[in-house]
């Protein structure tokens, strides 16, 4: 089914490309989702100093490892953007591939971490700290999975030299996923 591109998609009254504009609005809506969740968590945490005992059972070094993995994957996303700007679709696709690899590593580490915690009895219903822990990190992990899938689609297109501007857009989203983790890591792991 072929579509003629509507004229509306080609206009840019603000001078900002429509795709980039839309991604920023998506992020605005995401910020308030995580904002609401983390705000609720913070209010509860302040009211329940005893949660520190539960929080002491999180593995800070695993969280730190995952932070490192995510930040590195964001770096390759930036390099991919740079390559796409130069019109080098194959290079951009390869670098996006590294970012996807980072996402997969992150998820594997996370699943071992969760399996270990659950086997020690720290399940989502253990207490409300653990409920927040799994809900917040789980919602974030969903974003990691979604980002990795979209990145795969963008990478395939970029490899064929198509829709190179999307490399930047998925990069913006990926940085956001990164930033959310930067908030989650201290709130869930470091604060004991």
């Amino acid at each position: 089914m072929a579509h003629a591109k509507p004229l509306a998609t080609l206009r840019s009254a603000t001078g900002i490309p429509t795709g980039r504009l839309a991604v920023w609005w998506v992020l605005a809506s995401e910020v308030v989702i995580f904002g609401g969740l983390l705000g609720s968590y913070l209010m509860h945490r302040i009211g329940h100093p005893e949660w520190a005992e539960a929080a002491a059972h999180t593995q800070t070094w695993i969280g730190a490892l995952n932070t490192f993995v995510l930040l590195t994957s964001s770096f390759t996303a930036v390099l991919a953007h740079q390559a796409a700007e130069k019109g080098n679709g194959k290079e951009a696709a390869k670098l996006l591939g590294f970012t996807i690899l980072g996402a997969i590593t992150f998820l594997i580490v996370k699943s071992f971490e969760w399996a270990n915690e659950i086997s020690h009895g720290y399940t989502i219903t253990a207490n409300t700290f653990w409920s927040f822990y799994y809900t917040a990190a789980g919602l974030h992990a969903l974003h990691v999975i979604a980002g990795a899938i979209i990145m795969g689609v963008v990478a395939v297109d970029a490899y064929r030299g198509r829709e190179l501007h999307r490399v930047e857009l998925i990069g913006i989203y990926w940085h956001f996923v990164d930033v959310v983790w930067i908030f989650l890591f201290p709130l869930l792991y470091i604060a004991k």
Binding site: L7, T9, R11, I16, T18, A28, S29, E30, V32, H44
Partner: protein
């Protein structure tokens, strides 16, 4: 490819066109990316849901006025069914009628046409938005048929009632309700991003910020409000879902949770939501008033800035829903002040409308009657809000029918009057035919008069102490006197009359669509761009070589230097 762009739906509904490559037949209406068809999908789905929501109101109003009778078309109402009916009446009318019709249907239809674009900037995301919305509606409707029936924990879904299946007795229905609402939010986030970016980027050449018709501004500002307020509720909905299905304790104080947290998250969304649906309705009213008063809007920029101020303020009023929920009285003071403050910009908008009417040459067409009725009826809703915004008075009025009547005096003008106003005004553009004005006026009076007779008695009952969400007032001797029952009967019979008059509307729609006079391009002699193309507009809205340019603002009526009393936006000076 150009042929697809122009003639996908120029013909009659069943017209076949051999050489376009898009989907054929019925599929082209279900699978179209054309903003006008998606608008129609939203409009008709919303109207179908309105009929269902109205039917629910009919059933439980019958039970309230005549407790225990076998309601024609339903049968005897059990307490559980009653809870499910009031819960889903509220949910449907707000999330599946007001939102899809006022924002999604008119936003989709009007924004590209009024800013001179051929479509939305993301047509396929637009289609996806409707499909997710339809799925959410189907899930909600399906929830009536599961074990236990539809959700019965009130549309605000306060835990622990909503979180614990043994309390609300509708465990499966509650989860399906939550999933349906969440999907509906996703649909409107997708639609909202489309509206915002389309308005920002795809305006016709020459259309500056202050040349945009106010209704487009209003819908876009409403979309931004929705987007910024719904996030915390999405997070809250995930928590509630886990409480329901996994057995977490986010809202259970015995396990370190807090039920008031839900109220904060819900109303942080819920109060801006009032303005999310109010702003499009006010925008529609302003368009109609300017056209039929043949006068420039009094203070375009004032309206715009006021709207933005309303939007900002609307994020700081939510706790006025919680004055009796045990919040800190000092907090209650703050929220009383912000709540009373927000009536200032709203009053300003109404004054602007009145000032526009002053000295205009007013034409009392059917859409104009609806627009005037919006102002009059919403005013009552707004003024009674002052009582509830003041924490002292609210402690008495809270959870009585006074609140319910106040709420309906705001939402009925918004969702029903606003919709009829827009529908009768843009019907010639949407379907290419004029509506019958006499039938339109009969329908108007047959709706507005009974509406007041439904809800004024409920104000009186509320002041008399009638509590909300009660299945049968015979169980409360002090609320079961004959005087109170007379008032309940007045409200219910008025509802029956109002529902009966809706048949006039549907009859008018069908006969006008089939046999009405041809509308032509600009039957109301209005200025905005949608009136410069054919009625109904072809796919792509204008022929590719005739896309309009804009030379002036949208409300240049009665300009002294011109022979005609209007000056369309696209005419070169």
């Amino acid at each position: 490819m150009a042929d697809t762009a122009v003639d996908v739906h120029r013909g009659e509904p069943h017209g076949h066109d051999d050489h376009h490559h898009g989907p054929q037949g019925l599929l082209k209406y279900l699978w179209s990316t054309d903003h006008k068809i998606i608008a129609m999908q939203y409009l008709f789905t919303g109207m179908a849901m309105a009929v269902i929501g109205g039917y629910m109101a009919y059933v439980f109003r019958m039970q309230l006025a005549f407790p225990g009778i076998s309601v024609p078309g339903f049968g005897q109402v059990s307490p559980g069914e009653y809870n499910s009916l009031v819960t889903n009446h509220g949910s449907i009318m707000i999330f599946w009628v007001a939102m899809p019709v006022l924002i999604a249907a008119f936003g989709n239809y009007l924004i590209p046409l009024m800013i001179g674009a051929d479509d939305m900037v993301f047509p396929r995301i637009n289609r996806l938005s409707y499909q997710i919305f339809l799925l959410s509606a189907l899930i909600l409707l399906a929830s009536f048929f599961v074990r236990g029936g539809g959700f019965g924990g009130a549309w605000t879904a306060y835990p622990p009632l909503s979180a614990v299946g043994s309390y609300n007795q509708t465990q499966i229905g509650a989860t399906m309700w939550l999933i349906a609402v969440a999907l509906e939010f996703v649909a409107f986030l997708l639609g909202g991003i489309n509206f915002i970016t389309t308005l920002m980027n795809s305006r016709a050449p020459g259309m500056k910020a202050y040349d945009i018709p106010l209704v487009c501004w209003m819908i876009v500002i409403a979309s931004i409000l929705f987007m910024l307020s719904v996030g915390p509720l999405i997070a809250g909905a995930v928590m509630l879902l886990f409480d329901q299905t996994l057995g977490t304790g986010f809202y259970d104080p015995a396990r370190g949770g807090d039920p008031v947290l839900w109220q904060h998250l819900f109303w942080f969304f819920g109060h801006p939501e009032v303005y999310v649906v109010l702003l499009p309705a006010i925008g529609i009213t302003i368009e109609v008033i300017a056209t039929f008063a043949r006068k420039k809007i009094f203070g375009y920029k004032l309206v715009l800035y006021t709207t933005v101020a309303t939007g900002v303020l609307s994020f700081f009023v939510w706790a006025h829903h919680q004055f009796v929920a045990g919040i800190d009285p000092r907090m209650a003071n703050v929220f009383t002040i912000t709540t009373l403050l927000i009536s200032v910009p709203i009053a300003e908008l109404l004054f602007v409308i009145i000032a526009t009417l002053y000295g205009g040459s007013i034409r009392l067409t059917t859409p104009m009657l609806w627009a005037l009725a919006f102002v009059a009826e919403f005013l009552i809703g707004g003024v009674t809000g002052i009582y509830l915004g003041a924490s002292g008075a609210d402690i008495y009025f809270h959870d009585t029918y006074f609140v319910l009547a106040h709420f309906h005096y705001t939402f009925f003008p918004i969702a029903i009057v606003g919709t009829f106003c827009a529908f009768t005004y843009w019907f010639p553009k949407m379907f290419g035919k004029m509506m019958n004005d006499t039938l339109g006026k009969i329908h108007f009076w047959g709706t507005i008069i009974p509406f007041n007779f439904i809800f004024i008695p409920l104000f009186v009952l509320g002041i008399g102490g009638q509590h909300r969400r009660i299945y049968n007032y015979q169980h409360f001797p002090e609320l079961a006197g004959p005087g109170m029952y007379r008032l309940r009967e007045v409200a219910t019979i008025s509802l029956l009359i109002m529902l009966a008059f809706q048949l006039v509307f549907f009859y008018n729609c069908i006969t006008s669509w089939m046999k009405g006079a041809r509308a032509g391009r600009n039957p109301w002699k209005a200025n905005t761009l949608e009136w410069t193309t054919e009625s109904p507009p072809p796919h792509g809205n204008w022929p590719p070589d005739q896309m309009p340019n804009v030379y002036r603002g949208p409300y240049e009526y009665g300009h002294p230097d011109r022979e005609e009393d209007y000056w369309p936006q696209h005419q070169p000076t």
